[in-house]
């Protein structure tokens, strides 16, 4: 119970402090227009607090009272006073003198506060050299950017101040100096800052409004960007750097040595990551022939519709587009299945999972929208997302597992497969029942086709016919050559050859290359919930007026879907697709847990983990991470730009 309470307090504190900081900052800058002096005092106090806080945090200031609080408070008070005073002085010369003088006074405080056993002995050569060089660089930069000598001069001043601090303290030998040098080092640097401050003017009312308004983008962006820089950008830079290094010859990983681009060379020349040697089998894949057949079908449909269209122009329709899309989908799958390797696998994952999860998520979101028990259906689809991955991996192993033929199957898929095999080889009543059911289904479909044809619903009639054809094929296989998981073998029983029919299972996780597909299905199972939730939120946000208006115009549900809902959620589709592509590109745990990359299922992220964290080969691991990152960039870039254009 204590634990619960202390945890609650921690949570409230963490959330509360962050929220209060944000609100206070906003309030502070809104004071710039109304209470200019108060605003300046607070800003000055904050800068002083920060400056002395950092000095004290690095244990450069002597211990007075409670160590880490005393000097920052002094700094805050001093900073507040200086800024407060400066906010009221408009006369340029007085302002200049006050600024330089008061900053120098802060320098005196700093010099006096410096820890007595750590006094710097200045190296004047280094200090002056740094001051001048940095000043010139800043001045030149200022000139280049602002194109104005006065402003460039101010830049140069800032450069001088920074250069002095760098040179004086950086070149100093600590512990051997005296108090005088401590004063000098601090006063010169801060006085230079003061000079710079003194040259500025107090902003007029418009200027203050600008400060107020202009500050907001920083206040709104700063927290997010801080997290992004610390948590992502710096690690990314480090990763890019590491990817150019490798271990020493003796295999130690503490001291990495320069390796140029060789890690990348290894990735792209290694046949584990790219293997084109099997491309000759491409035309041996039945997927290609199915795809080619569908292509021809779509061409035929286009041709027929063209010939029969009243205005003599070709027109896209559901009947021609869907086989066309499916055809290319199948051919793409065949390409991925023939070319092997880690990188190809990754592309295959991205292609298949992103498309399937998006389409299924959208379909479910649309179908579930406004149905009764909507929330039940959505929760059940969402459920896989909520199940922790370790749990999901176990259940999918039980979905795919194969058992020896003489044992009952415990895997769902193999059980069904073997069950169908038994149906098609058995003579008992179950087989007859199956045949009867199939005949019934064919009859219903044919009937439906007839009715639809008479109702002039040609697409419906055609799809019913197609369905009847498919079931008919199944029927043929069942009564003819057989279908499902069985095989026949000839054994010797008492010296005589006997042909036996035994169940035959599929090793879903082991049969290359389609074991990849079975792994992808797991991710689709999980990620469809993701797509569905986001689409669902987006569809609900489509203004009801639009839909009502379309209905008044006599649009059907299908038309509303394509012409109202889809355009309204177009950018959301972009978000979902982009996110899924990235998410799938980074897929790692499914492969790691289910096959560990064996049987030709390795993907980049899992390979990266293995190299970097299991083998401590950080160079190669980082190079894999960079390849992963860069290969997604173009897709992301394209998607985001397109969305930005859609918005405007």
């Amino acid at each position: 119970m204590d634990r619960l309470i202390s945890t609650l307090i921690r949570i409230v504190l963490a959330v509360g402090v962050s929220g209060v900081m944000f609100v206070v900052l906003n309030y502070l800058f809104s004071q710039a227009t109304k209470r200019w002096r108060l605003f300046n005092v607070i800003v000055g106090a904050f800068i002083g607090l920060l400056y002395f806080g950092i000095l004290d945090g690095n244990r450069l200031l002597g211990d007075v009272g409670p160590t880490l609080i005393f000097w920052p408070i002094i700094g805050a008070v001093a900073g507040g006073i200086v800024f407060g005073v400066l906010s009221e002085i408009e006369e340029p010369r007085l302002r200049f003198a006050t600024a330089a003088g008061s900053m120098a006074a802060i320098g005196i405080i700093q010099g006096a506060a410096w820890r007595s056993d750590f006094l710097p002995s200045l190296d004047w050569g280094t200090a002056i050299a740094w001051t001048l060089i940095t000043g010139v660089i800043f001045g030149a930069l200022g000139l280049a950017i602002r194109q104005d000598f006065f402003r460039a001069g101010r830049w140069a001043l800032i450069g001088l101040a920074i250069g002095w601090m760098l040179g004086a303290y950086g070149g100093a030998d600590f512990g051997s100096g005296n108090r005088g040098e401590s004063y000098l080092a601090a006063i010169i640097g801060l006085a230079l800052v003061g000079v710079c401050l003194g040259m500025s003017k107090i902003p007029d009312n418009a200027g203050r409004i600008k400060i107020n308004a202009g500050s907001r983008k920083y206040i709104f962006l700063a927290p997010a960007l801080a997290f992004v820089v610390l948590g992502l950008l710096i690690p990314l830079a480090r990763t890019i750097y590491l990817s150019l290094l490798t271990r020493e010859e003796d295999g130690r990983f503490n001291d990495l040595v320069w390796n140029g681009l060789e890690n990348y060379g290894f990735i792209f020349t290694n046949e584990n990551s790219l293997d084109f040697s099997d491309w000759g089998n491409f035309f041996g894949s039945s997927l290609v022939w199915w795809g080619a057949g569908l292509l021809v079908l779509s061409l035929v449909v286009v041709l027929v519709q063209w010939l029969r269209s009243p205005d003599g122009r070709p027109r896209a329709s559901g009947g021609s587009i869907s086989p066309f899309v499916i055809a290319w989908f199948l051919i793409a799958m065949a390409v991925f299945a023939t070319l092997r390797g880690t990188i190809i696998n990754n592309l295959w994952w991205v292609f298949f999972v992103s498309i399937m999860a998006t389409v299924l998520g959208l379909v479910i979101a649309v179908l579930a929208d406004r149905t009764r028990m909507e929330s039940v259906a959505k929760s059940l689809i969402f459920m896989p997302m909520a199940i922790s991955f370790v749990g999901a991996s176990i259940i999918w192993r039980y979905m795919y597992i194969a058992r020896p033929p003489n044992k009952p199957q415990t895997g769902v898929f193999n059980s069904i497969w073997v069950g169908i095999g038994e149906l098609s080889t058995t003579d008992s009543w179950t087989g007859i029942l199956a045949i009867a059911v199939l005949i019934g289904v064919i009859a219903v479909l044919l009937l439906l086709a007839g009715i639809s044809w008479r109702a002039k619903a040609k697409n419906m009639a055609l799809s019913s016919l197609l369905g009847a054809g498919l079931v008919g094929y199944l029927f043929y296989r069942l009564i003819g050559p057989g279908i499902g998981g069985f095989k026949t073998r000839t054994i010797l029983v008492d010296g005589q050859e006997v042909t036996q029919t035994i169940p035959d299972t599929i090793l879903f996780l082991q049969n290359i290359p389609f074991n990849n597909l079975w792994l992808m299905i797991i991710l689709i199972w999980i990620q469809t919930g993701f797509a569905m939730v986001i689409f669902s939120a987006a569809i609900k946000a489509v203004p009801g007026e639009f839909i009502e208006a379309a209905k008044v115009d006599g649009a059907t549900e299908t038309q509303i879907f394509w012409r109202v809902i889809i355009p309204q959620i177009a950018t959301t589709i972009g978000v979902v697709v982009t996110t899924l592509i990235v998410l799938v590109m980074k897929v790692y745990d499914i492969v790691k847990v289910m096959t560990n990359g064996n049987f030709g299922t390795q993907v980049l992220a899992s390979d990266m983990w293995q190299r970097a964290f299991t083998e401590s080969n950080f160079g190669l691991g980082s190079a894999l991470a960079v390849v992963l990152f860069i290969s997604v960039l173009p897709i992301m870039f394209y998607n985001i730009r397109r969305m930005q254009k859609l918005e405007t």
């Binding site: 809104s30 709104f220 929330s375 059940l380 199940i387 769902v412 109702a455 982009t578």
Partner: protein
């Protein structure tokens, strides 16, 4: 079975129809035709429920197996239960999870999970909402590019950031100035490592790109008129954000909250990295995973663990789902 209640009665609402047919003809049909046609009209609902059943099957399998001992899980299929095979039914898997004594037991693990997941959900939402608002509605130079760069970082495999962040949390950040041989402490070691703070801070950083991406997409689609009206009334950005944007973006905030909570609550990798040798701070995921041991020794425990774990995210989903409100913009859009 349920039927869709929205399609107009004259629409053959099959997803495969072009929808241009005159369905009225069909509804005049008598007998079988009418029955078939009415069935076809509810095809979307049927498709939905078939998908739902497909999606639920693995979960049901997991659920059944969570009540069976290890040997039964291995040798007999879960659906044999429905055929009356009640062998090996046991509550031991659950008992093992709730009964663990290691490092404060399971309930401490759940509390730790909350200590991570709640800040890791609320804080990124707030921070990302600010940033998304700035990207969408505050004009400044380089906005588009800053946005692209931020969102591109979504593509970084998070694992590469684990070591740098762990270094930051365990030792602070120190920079050695080039050429001067002096080291500056930028961030002191404040003892974050081994606390849940380190974990949610990490989650917050990793969540930023996606959160900004998702929220920005929504915020930028809000109608421009409401902002202009507010500006004319003299509201500053903070007021607009607080009074207008937040209430209007409840659905998307709810959607993101669901995922962020789920990911952080179910996370294993970041938590074990940041809390490696502080087992008293371990969230439930690690507790359950470690219970199962190496080499799948006690994999049976994981089946029950998966369900115990799922309860909380599902509750979050249910409670936040009602914020997916239809027509939240209804008043804001005129035509």
């Amino acid at each position: 079975m349920t039927t869709t209640n929205s399609p107009p009665p004259t629409t053959p609402a099959s997803s495969s129809t072009g929808g241009t047919s005159k369905a009225g003809d069909a509804s005049k049909e008598k007998g079988v035709g009418k029955i078939v046609y009415n069935t076809m009209r509810s095809v979307p609902t049927w498709v939905l429920w078939i998908l739902v059943i497909l999606w639920t099957t693995p979960t049901i399998g997991l659920f059944v197996n969570s009540f069976r001992d290890r040997d039964m899980q291995r040798t007999s299929a879960f659906w044999t239960l429905f055929r009356g095979n009640f062998d090996g039914l046991t509550l031991n898997n659950y008992r093992e999870i709730f009964g663990t004594e290691a490092d404060g037991g399971f309930w401490d693990g759940i509390i730790n999970s909350f200590a991570i997941a709640i800040p890791a959900t609320v804080i990124p939402i707030a921070i990302a909402a600010f940033a998304a608002y700035a990207f969408a509605w505050i004009e400044f130079r380089g906005r588009e590019w800053l946005f692209i760069i931020t969102v591109s970082l979504l593509a970084i495999p998070n694992q590469v950031a684990l070591i740098p962040l762990l270094q930051l949390f365990s030792n602070g950040a120190h920079v050695t100035l080039p050429g001067l041989d002096k080291t500056v402490t930028l961030v002191p070691d404040v003892g974050l490592v081994g606390t849940s703070n380190a974990v949610w801070l990490t989650h917050t950083a990793f969540a930023m790109p996606f959160a900004i991406f998702l929220l920005h997409n929504y915020l930028s689609s809000l109608p421009k008129d409401i902002f202009e009206a507010a500006r004319i009334d003299g509201a500053d950005h903070f007021t607009i954000f607080w009074r207008l944007v937040l209430p209007l973006s409840v659905p998307v905030l709810a959607a993101f909250a669901i995922f962020q909570f789920l990911w952080t609550y179910n996370d294993y990798l970041i938590a074990i990295t940041m809390l490696g040798s502080a087992p008293s701070e371990w969230p439930a995921t690690i507790k359950i995973a470690t219970l199962s041991g190496e080499f799948g020794l006690k994999e049976n425990v994981l089946t029950a663990g998966a369900f115990v774990q799922t309860v909380v995210p599902l509750a979050v989903f249910f409670s936040l789902q009602r914020y997916f409100v239809r027509g939240i913009l209804a008043g804001a859009v005129k035509g």
